[in-house]
Symmetry: C2
Subunit: 457 residues, 2 copies
């Protein structure tokens, strides 16, 4: 065989690790469906032309060609309009899907989508070339009520709340509030102000104050007010009074306050203690047209925002319709990678199997099959020992795989027995009725707290 | 916007159709896990060199290049050993995964894998360029007991049995039986005999008889016996006596009989009435080294085999180990496509939402949110109406989406009410305790029989 080497940037999990990734995907889907979101998948490829409309990404696209395309009449590789690339996100495909299928979709469309995306970036700093994104969007046809922004944030909060994460915080701001405030200060170059404030964490208040004066034309007083605005962080609607106290006023400011208040209050009602109004958030405010979200995990701020998004007024449009949306996206592989590498989540066992059914000898394999069938009928995952080795060896086999129970089918009228490999306890049991402890029935994903308490036992 | 067109060969489902695909995937995973199979995913790309070892597929591979690769030092496109292609099946990646991770895997490895694969074939005859495969394999390290062949067939039978399929039949044969039988007839060119018999459905017995004489050097008597052998089809182990009556004897024949009997009896015990010993199966017997399986759906034979596989003695090997396996693969997208196009399966409703919670006016949206939260707490999927339109309009909104229930939160001490949109019945209800009928709780996938009985109601 040729030598086998891992490909940098293309992560691959071992079976036990995949259980954690699958759990994260399952939670996302379960919560999204509870909120009436439909799952879709789009094809992995889009015409290169369509993807290049997002100029910043053009270096990162993987282009496809058929190995022998030059030999045949198809000619894909020579006609650029037919060149296909792997999608680098799930937003470009969603826009195309919405336009392509608009006559068959009900709007507002509530859709989630969990798929791999590909970017030809240099794999470094935990950036992958192939990774899962998990997206959640509500897309309206021509109109989309403002309160959807709060609603999507609630769904995100509930998803994150059910994941085996340490404490996380969803930071929310809204374009209208920032823009309205800067306007009511007399600062008209909104983009320049946002660009300056975006640098706050990196270069500090003094440097940003200078930038505001040089780049955004702010007076000392205006710069001071902008900095004070950006320092506002509240867990409730009290940010509003602070904004007003700094001189924020006018219709736009009040609209922004109402929007952001709705977001904070609805998320707080659904998942207490996770959302914060954070008026320093500037990134994305020039792209999104309403509320914008970023999410950070306590102690893992180096991950950056694990879940971001907001409102955009036009996902797509054609001659007949415009499609505004509110969307959030989790960089799922990156998050799972951290959960695994930091020991934040692990499966309660490395395999789905709850019970290994032993085999006394090959002549009695049928009895073992029957016991396994009875257990499976009640949803208890089991496998039958691959060989009729000595029982000690079969026990070690189960132990090595992390299977918690081993089943001994009785012969000649003797009752079956089941042994808990961890405690060594062995008791008579009936395959038609035996129940494992609830915590052993299916694989559970344990967070680090659960690990701690398990370690104490 | 550029014009939007579907890409031939890249199927994409609408949300309701995706529910059917997701169901098939869920069933596969659930049954596989019940049997102790671990789910894995491999990266979508493999080095082109590795994939080209399977010569027959080389025209079909999609090769990747980074859009601006020629501009930088990475040079992937110029170094063929670093050229990547999209995997065209899940077997080549599994072989590489097993070798790469062999020190971290427990053998026999029981793994399932459900992922998209890509083939640059001309999209015709229902062939896709991007499609899901669902694979199930048991991989041993150096050895793998023969009874695993029966075990994998059982898992497949249970998966297929739970899918919304019309009647299906798993046809099994084993190489040792065919080869042993032909040898005991005195026919040594096993490959030529198999090649001839493989043409039976297309060219008929007379033409195959001629082929056997010309290509496999068979006498008239030998050709007749081979044809009689290939006509054996039994639902139980009685094929054995028929084989012996035709002159089959010797160790290889008896081994083959024992193998195939074990498969038939184990599958019959698990899922009665689906397996058949079919000694006409020749395809793949030169590739597989033990039992071989093909599966046909009654009335949909034009689909070809929806699930095929068998035993292979070497999935992969390196200096230290050889990895034999038994595997089965479902062409999942092709199957789902037929389920949808032939109306064999459809979701009980097109969206996950069970209840639309109406909104009396925007001031009372919080009450609607709270009712929805209480319902969701007990796993009842709901969405809150996007606008506080007139109730008639909200009811039509739910109806159009296929949501079966609409909830009216009470105000000022009046009880909540819930309306079944289909029957029109409206009753007082408490969001903390109300239960929808069991059949409405979550989306179910209805087979065509269920459709029939539903139509009778």
């Amino acid at each position: 065989m040729a030598k086998i080497a891992a490909l940098s940037g293309f992560p691959e999990w071992l079976p036990a690790e995949r259980l954690v990734e699958q759990h994260v995907i399952d939670v996302f889907r379960e919560v999204a469906e509870l909120h009436g979101f439909s799952g879709i998948e789009t094809r992995a490829v889009e015409p290169l032309e369509q993807m290049l409309r997002k100029g910043e990404i053009d270096k990162e696209v993987y282009v496809l060609r058929r190995l022998h395309a030059e030999d045949d009449a198809d000619g894909e590789s020579s006609d650029p309009s037919r060149t296909l690339g792997l999608h680098f996100d799930l937003t470009v495909p969603l826009a195309r899907y919405v336009l392509e299928h608009q006559n068959d979709l009900a709007f507002p469309l509530r859709r989630f989508q969990i798929q791999k995306v590909w970017r030809g970036e240099r794999p470094q700093d935990g950036r992958f070339r192939e990774f899962y994104q998990a997206d959640l969007d509500v897309i309206g046809q021509d109109t989309l009520p403002g309160h959807i922004e709060a609603e999507v944030a609630v769904v995100m909060a509930e998803i994150l709340d059910r994941l085996p994460l340490p404490a996380f915080t969803i930071h929310a701001n809204t374009r209208r509030l920032s823009e309205g405030f800067f306007r009511s200060l007399g600062l008209e170059d909104n983009a320049a102000v946002l660009r300056s404030l975006d640098k706050l964490p990196k270069i500090g208040a003094d440097a940003v104050r200078a930038l505001l004066r040089e780049e955004a034309g702010a007076s000392e007083e205006q710069a001071e007010a902008a900095l004070a605005f950006a320092s506002i962080r509240t867990r409730d609607a009290s940010f509003a009074d602070q904004v007003r106290a700094l001189g924020g006023n006018g219709e736009m400011v009040e609209q922004g306050i109402a929007e952001l208040t709705a977001v904070i209050e609805r998320v707080e009602a659904a998942v207490p203690g996770v959302v914060v109004a954070d008026l320093s958030i500037a990134r994305g405010l020039d792209y999104y047209t309403g509320t914008v979200f970023e999410t950070f995990v306590t102690g893992h701020e180096s991950l950056g925002s694990i879940c971001s998004g907001g409102r955009y007024d036009s996902l797509a449009s054609d001659n007949r319709h415009t499609y505004p949306g509110v969307g959030l996206s989790i960089g799922l592989s990156r998050l799972v990678s951290r959960l695994l590498s930091a020991g934040l989540a692990k499966p309660s066992r490395p395999v789905p199997t709850c019970v290994l059914v032993s085999v006394a000898d090959e002549q009695h394999r049928g009895a073992s099959d029957e016991a396994a069938r009875q257990l499976r009928r009640r949803g208890i995952a089991c496998e039958v020992a691959p060989t009729a080795a000595k029982f000690g060896k079969q026990i070690r086999y189960a132990d090595r795989r992390g299977i918690p129970f081993i089943w001994f089918p009785g012969t000649d009228g003797v009752a079956d027995e089941v042994k808990d490999i961890r405690s060594g306890e062995q008791v008579p049991a009936d395959a038609a009725t035996w129940e494992p402890p609830a915590e052993d029935r299916v694989v559970r994903i344990l967070g680090s707290e659960a690990e701690d308490s398990a370690a104490k036992d």
